[in-house]
Symmetry: C2
Subunit: 382 residues, 2 copies
DNA sequence: TACGGTTCCTAAACCGGTTCACTAAACCGG
DNA sequence: CCGGTTTAGTGAACCGGTTTAGGAACCGTA
């Protein structure tokens, strides 16, 4: 009943293909909104309303349309919707490292957890943006997101300009050198300083620093990587305060992973460096250093004290439990999303915010006084 | 020179807005293809060609168009491109768990690493699909991907139908109960059996199984979770082969995390269960069980042997190094992507493939013979 | 009877690209 | 100088939705 004049739209409109009335022999398997409209004898608009603002239709019509849509197996095409609404309901997490590197880094896992939780709650999907076939620019160009949380991206990355050019809201994490974007950092310097002071107070003077290598520097140099710089500054400040300083050859760098820390320690050892303590810039590296030390016959903390950074979940569970600098990683992710959404809500009018979260030293069992016997390769104070 | 008749298209075409010739006072900040076309004095088609098939234009025109585009800061809108090309160059990773759960699980990290590597190489972006505001269906509906790698999704999940309805190619990981989709599993049963046989050979009879709880069962029951079932079958087969069996109260379940394993062991202990060995269905849980055991004053492996499953990177680094069942997690991710792309390349014509990867037992130091004294709460053989 | 106000629905424009079908001009061999 | 092929570029249709502006039908009222 109520079957309206079955003109089926577009009466005389040129040639539309012969198979119009012999059922749904369309090239595409998926029915489109026009198919539903035709089948239900209404306009495309009505179908759209049935899904998005049913109150604009009579209850009867709305349910009938939805029934037809159901039997046809119709699902609105999300890409088309994105195009008209000019938003994708997707947030991007931008990292200059390859995805594979990200996932092998427990720090990122925690950070992503924070981001994911916040994004999920707010109904946003998550899209990881990282170099595609070696090109971060390509990945950015392809990505369809409403906003970007960029982590570990400093001012020198050209992609920053690309994103601004695209008019995308962006929040920087672990970098605040672009004042026009909101940012969130932790107090790396204070945390690092506390870590170094802890070792100095225990009596250590011969300390090896294991830094996270910069994105460019594939080996050796700590690099410009903002985070590493800030932490190094903290370490140095503590040493300066007791009238000594870190020897240049006592700073090595490696990948931010267990293996990276392990091989960095071995490398230093191979160069004859015999520290009584290690300051590692990430927990993963600290764990690696402990492993390497154990393999060299050193006991932690009796022969060697080790301090990490980050306080990942695992830090309390390794043997011995790791002394480390806690930073609220999950919170950092969640806050980044909140800042981003604030920026997205009020394009332009919103003044960028710059958050700095506190760090604090967690003393566990991987640190103790230096061994009695003088350190072998002394560069320390007498 | 060569400046063609500057009719600038659409001569008399109704009203287009007064601000047409007074510069780019468009509502949208981003220039569109039409802006470039107008500015360069060519058609939209030409601009499109300049980017996608420059060989169809004279070299001069192509470069000129690109220069204009550059000064205007034009970037093709990726969403519009997706719509016309009907592909997004994005792969989805579908999981029934929340993203936050995913990232806290080292198994997923490794798997994602494998997926990410393969996807990146092939020029695909990665999109994680997991419940949005509690609804996986919503996330699937929203997602714009060319294909899906589904992990831990079994036949009973209604989303499977949803994806098939959308006509999306899909590969199942850790589940092969949908023959019409390609799948990739590991030989869980054989691996589990090897683990149990190892303990039995050492003389253990009183063994606690710590299972991964099913998605539904929030506590207690191992649940229908295919993987858990298969591993349990393996354990049981080994016990049956020596003429004994696993007591029902010796099977507990928990979340697949360190804490999950820890609390599962404590729960069993609280119920008076005093096993000489533990079979954990994931390394994270095994590590948690070791921690709980240590807190209860048990030494591993002297008082308690522990076997894990997965062989995550960490397994060899904990104390004591964990005996576990190795499965090629990264490879699983990479292979899943390969299968998916095969299916995407040859829609329909491609017969689904079903891969089964081998597992193998890695004996480290967390297992040894049971303690001399008879186990306190004996359900074992005399 | 004319009028204003609802209710329910539609045609057409639009989002921002790509692509199909076609043409004007240049080129080319005979 | 002719017919055929290339070359370089165009206009319009199209991808699959949403949205704007408005129309027909019906109601109650003056």
């Amino acid at each position: 009943m109520a079957s309206p004049p079955v003109a089926a739209g577009l009466s005389g409109a040129t040639v539309l293909g012969p198979s119009l009335e012999e059922g749904m022999e369309r090239r595409s398997l998926r029915p489109r909104i026009a198919d539903v409209a035709r089948e239900a004898g209404v306009s495309k608009t009505a179908v759209s309303f049935a899904f998005n603002s049913p109150e604009r239709l009579s209850a009867d019509t709305a349910t009938r349309i939805r029934e037809v849509a159901d039997t046809l197996g119709y699902r609105p095409n999300p890409v088309a919707r994105m195009l008209t609404q000019r938003q994708t309901m997707t947030l991007g997490v931008l990292t200059p490292q390859a995805l594979a590197v990200i996932f092998s880094n427990p720090f990122f896992a925690l950070f992503s957890e924070g981001v994911a939780n916040a994004a999920e709650d707010l109904g946003y999907e998550l899209h990881f943006i990282s170099p595609l076939q070696g090109s971060l620019a390509l990945a950015v160009e392809r990505s369809t997101v409403d906003g970007v949380v960029a982590i570990g991206l400093s001012a020198e990355h050209p992609e920053v300009g690309q994103i601004r050019g695209a008019g995308l809201p962006m929040v920087l994490v672990d970098s605040d050198d672009l004042p026009e974007h909101s940012s969130i950092v932790v107090d790396d310097e204070a945390g690092a300083r506390a870590a170094a002071e802890h070792l100095l107070a225990l009596g250590h003077r011969d300390v090896l620093v294991i830094a996270v290598e910069g994105p460019a520097a594939a080996s050796g140099e700590p690099g410009r990587h903002g985070v590493s710089e800030r932490r190094l500054r903290g370490y140095r400040a503590a040493f300066a305060a007791v009238g000594t300083r870190l020897a240049k050859d006592h700073i090595v760098a490696g990948r931010a992973s267990i293996d990276g820390g392990s091989s960095a320690f071995q490398r230093a050892w191979g160069q004859g460096i015999r520290p009584t303590a290690v300051l590692a810039m990430s927990d993963a590296m600290a764990i690696g250093a402990m492993r390497a030390a154990r393999e060299l016959g050193l006991r932690v903390p009796d022969d060697l004290s080790v301090v990490g950074f980050d306080d990942i979940d695992l830090a309390g569970h390794v043997d011995p439990p790791l002394t480390t600098v806690h930073q609220p990683i999950r919170k950092k992710g969640a806050d980044a999303v909140r800042l981003l959404l604030a920026e997205m809500d009020q394009r332009g009018t919103h003044r960028p915010e710059h958050l700095r979260l506190a760090t604090r030293l967690i003393v566990r069992d991987s640190t103790g006084p230096p061994p009695r016997r003088a350190s072998q390769a002394g560069s320390g104070a007498p």
